[in-house]
C-alpha cells in the first residue's frame, strides 16, 4: 500500500532515483538467488543487471511497491538463472527433449495473496528447514524449483515414477509450510 511519504517521494523522484533505491533495497536478494542457482559470480552479476534492466523497461509502475516488486524481481531472477544454466548445458538430458526449453514461469499469486517480503530471520529458518528435509524431498524441490524441471523431467532425472516425485515435492513443501505457519 502506498502511503503519503511514498507519494511525495514519487512526486520528488525520477525513474533513475527510484531504480537506485530499488537496487539498494533488493540487490542482495536478487544476487544471492542468482548465485544459488548459477553458482557463478559473473553469471549472477549479468543476471542481476538484466533483471533490473527489465524492471525499468517493463515494470516501472512497480518500482515504488516494494513487496510486489520484490516478488517480481525474484521470480524473474529465478527464470533468468534457470535459462542461464540451461543455455550452458551442451547436451540434452533426455534424447527427445530439445537442449534449451523455455522456463515455465511460477504462478502469479491472486489479488488476495499479495506476496510479502520475508524478514531475514524467517528466510533463515526456511533455509535451515529446507536443508533439514530428507535428501530425497530436498532434491526434488531443488530440481523443480531452482532448476526448472517439470514433473516428467524430474521423474526421468531421478529415475522414479511420477507419483513418487510428486509426493516428495508435496511432502517437502508441506513441511516447509509448517515452519512458516508456526512462527
Amino acid at each position: 500500500m502506498v502511503d503519503l511519504d511514498t507519494l511525495e517521494h514519487v512526486a520528488d523522484s525520477d525513474p533513475s532515483t527510484l531504480l537506485a533505491e530499488a537496487y539498494d533495497r533488493h540487490h542482495q536478494a536478487v544476487f544471492s538467488l542468482a548465485m544459488m542457482i548459477v553458482q557463478n559470480q559473473d553469471d549472477a552479476e549479468a543476471i542481476t543487471l538484466e533483471v533490473f534492466s527489465r524492471a525499468v523497461r517493463e515494470e516501472q509502475n512497480r518500482l515504488t511497491r516494494h513487496d510486489s516488486l520484490a516478488y517480481w524481481l525474484l521470480r524473474t531472477t529465478r527464470n533468468q538463472a534457470i535459462d542461464k544454466i540451461r543455455s550452458k548445458q551442451p547436451t540434452p538430458d533426455s534424447g527427445s527433449q530439445p537442449t534449451h526449453q523455455a522456463v515455465v514461469d511460477l504462478p502469479i499469486p491472486a489479488a488476495d495473496l499479495e506476496p510479502t517480503v520475508m524478514l531475514e530471520e524467517s528466510a533463515s529458518k526456511l533455509r535451515a528447514k529446507l536443508n533439514d528435509l530428507p535428501q530425497s524431498q530436498q532434491e526434488a524441490i531443488r530440481l523443480c524449483y531452482f532448476e526448472g524441471l517439470t514433473q516428467t523431467q524430474l521423474a526421468e532425472r531421478l529415475g522414479e515414477p511420477r507419483s513418487i516425485v510428486k509426493s516428495r515435492v508435496r511432502s517437502g513443501l508441506l513441511t516447509l509450510l509448517e515452519t512458516l505457519t508456526h512462527e
Binding site: 500500500m1 502506498v2 503519503l4 511525495e8 512526486a11 525520477d14 525513474p15 533513475s16 532515483t17 531504480l19 537496487y23 539498494d24 540487490h27 542482495q28 536478494a29 544476487f31 544471492s32 538467488l33 548465485m35 559470480q41 549472477a44 552479476e45 542481476t48 533490473f52 534492466s53 525499468v56 516501472q60 509502475n61 516478488y71 525474484l74 531472477t77 527427445s96 515455465v104 514461469d105 511460477l106 504462478p107 502469479i108 489479488a111 499479495e114 510479502t116 528466510a123 533455509r127 529446507l130 524441490i141 523443480c144 524449483y145 526448472g148 517439470t150 514433473q151 516428467t152 515414477p161 507419483s163 510428486k166 509426493s167 515435492v169 508435496r170 513443501l173 508441506l174 516447509l176 509450510l177
Partner: protein, 292 residues
C-alpha cells in the same frame, strides 16, 4: 483429495506452486482450479512457501561496482527524468513574485511599496493555513486514488494471466474450460489397469453430448496403434473416439457419444489399430464406471 474423479489432479497443487507443471498441464490444472476449492486452498498455502523459497538463498553481497553497472546501464534505457509540471509552475510563480514587481511595474513610491508588503503579508497569513489544509486534503485523495490504482493493477495482472493461459490452449483445452464452467457436469474416473498402472483419466460427462476425456500417465503406443475409448451400453461397447497421448502421456479428446447413450454403465480404453475397430480387441488399459 481422494474423491471420485479427482485422482488425475491429486498432488498437482504442490507441483503447480513449485512451477513443475509444463504449460499444458498448467492450463488443465487451472481449469480444474475453477471447480475444486480444496486444490485452490492448497495452492494458496503452498504459494507462501514457494514465494519464501525465493528469499531463502544464503545472503551473498555482490561487488560494489555492480551498482554502477546496473544504474549506468539502465539509465540509458529510461526516459529523461523531468521535474513534475506543477513544480515548474511553482518555481515560475516564485520568480515572478520575487523579481516581477521591480521589472514589470514603474518605479513605485515608498508608501506604495510598504502598503504592498503589508497587504501581501496579511493575505499570506490568512491564505497559507488554508492552502496547507487543501494540500493535506489533496494528498488524502491521492492516496485513495493510488489505492484504487493498486486494485486495478492487480485486476490487470489477473486478466493478463487469463489471456496468457488462453493463448496456450489448444481447441481441445478450450472445450474443457468451457465444459467445466457449464452446469450439470459429472466427473467419471477411469483407473489404470495392469497394462498401465500409472494411468488415470477423468470424463467430464454432460447431458448435452459435449463430453470430454482427460487422461494422464498413458504408456507410449506401439507404432500404428491408438487408444480407443469405449462406452459400455446395454447392447455392448460403443466406440467414443480414438486418441494418441503426447510425449508426457497426456491425452484429451471430445467424446463422440451417440444420442442413444445417456450415461454409460462402464467405460474402458484399449489399444487398437489406428483405423479403429468396431468392437474392442486389445487389452484394457483403463477402466471405470459411474459412481452410483
Amino acid at each position: 483429495m481422494s474423491k471420485s474423479g479427482h485422482e488425475p489432479f491429486d498432488g498437482l497443487a504442490a507441483l503447480y506452486a513449485a512451477g513443475a507443471l509444463n504449460k499444458r498441464e498448467q492450463v488443465i490444472f487451472r481449469a480444474h482450479l475453477e471447480v475444486c476449492r480444496g486444490c485452490v486452498q492448497e495452492v494458496k498455502s503452498l504459494l507462501q512457501v514457494t514465494q519464501g523459497l525465493l528469499q531463502a538463498a544464503i545472503p551473498v553481497v555482490p561487488a560494489t561496482s555492480l551498482r554502477n553497472r546496473v544504474l549506468n546501464s539502465t539509465t540509458r534505457t529510461i526516459p529523461h527524468a523531468k521535474a513534475p509540471a506543477y513544480r515548474k509552475s511553482k518555481i515560475k510563480t516564485g520568480q515572478q513574485t520575487a523579481a516581477g514587481p521591480p521589472r514589470q511595474r514603474p518605479q513605485p513610491t515608498i508608501w506604495i511599496a510598504t502598503l504592498f508588503v503589508i497587504v501581501t503579508a496579511g493575505i499570506a497569513a490568512w491564505y497559507i493555513p488554508k492552502l496547507d489544509h487543501q494540500i493535506s486534503s489533496l494528498q488524502r485523495q491521492l492516496v485513495e486514488l493510488q489505492s484504487d490504482l493498486d486494485s486495478s493493477t492487480r485486476l490487470t495482472q489477473i486478466l493478463e494471466l487469463e489471456i496468457a493461459a488462453a493463448d496456450l490452449e489448444t481447441d481441445e483445452l478450450r472445450a474443457v474450460l468451457s465444459l467445466l464452467t457449464t452446469q450439470n457436469v459429472q466427473q467419471l474416473a477411469l483407473t489404470g489397469q495392469p497394462r498401465a498402472p500409472r494411468a488415470s483419466a477423468v470424463v467430464f460427462w454432460t447431458d448435452s453430448g459435449d463430453s470430454t476425456l482427460l487422461a494422464s500417465g498413458l504408456p507410449p503406443l506401439p507404432i500404428g496403434d491408438l487408444y480407443q475409448l469405449w462406452l459400455g451400453g446395454l447392447d455392448g461397447p460403443i466406440s467414443a473416439g480414438l486418441m494418441a497421448p503426447d510425449e508426457d502421456g497426456y491425452a484429451a479428446i471430445s467424446l463422440t457419444v451417440p444420442d442413444s447413450v445417456t450415461m454409460p454403465v462402464a467405460m474402458a480404453i484399449t489399444v487398437e489399430p489406428a483405423s479403429g475397430v468396431t468392437m474392442p480387441t486389445g487389452d484394457i488399459y483403463l477402466l471405470g464406471q459411474p459412481t452410483p
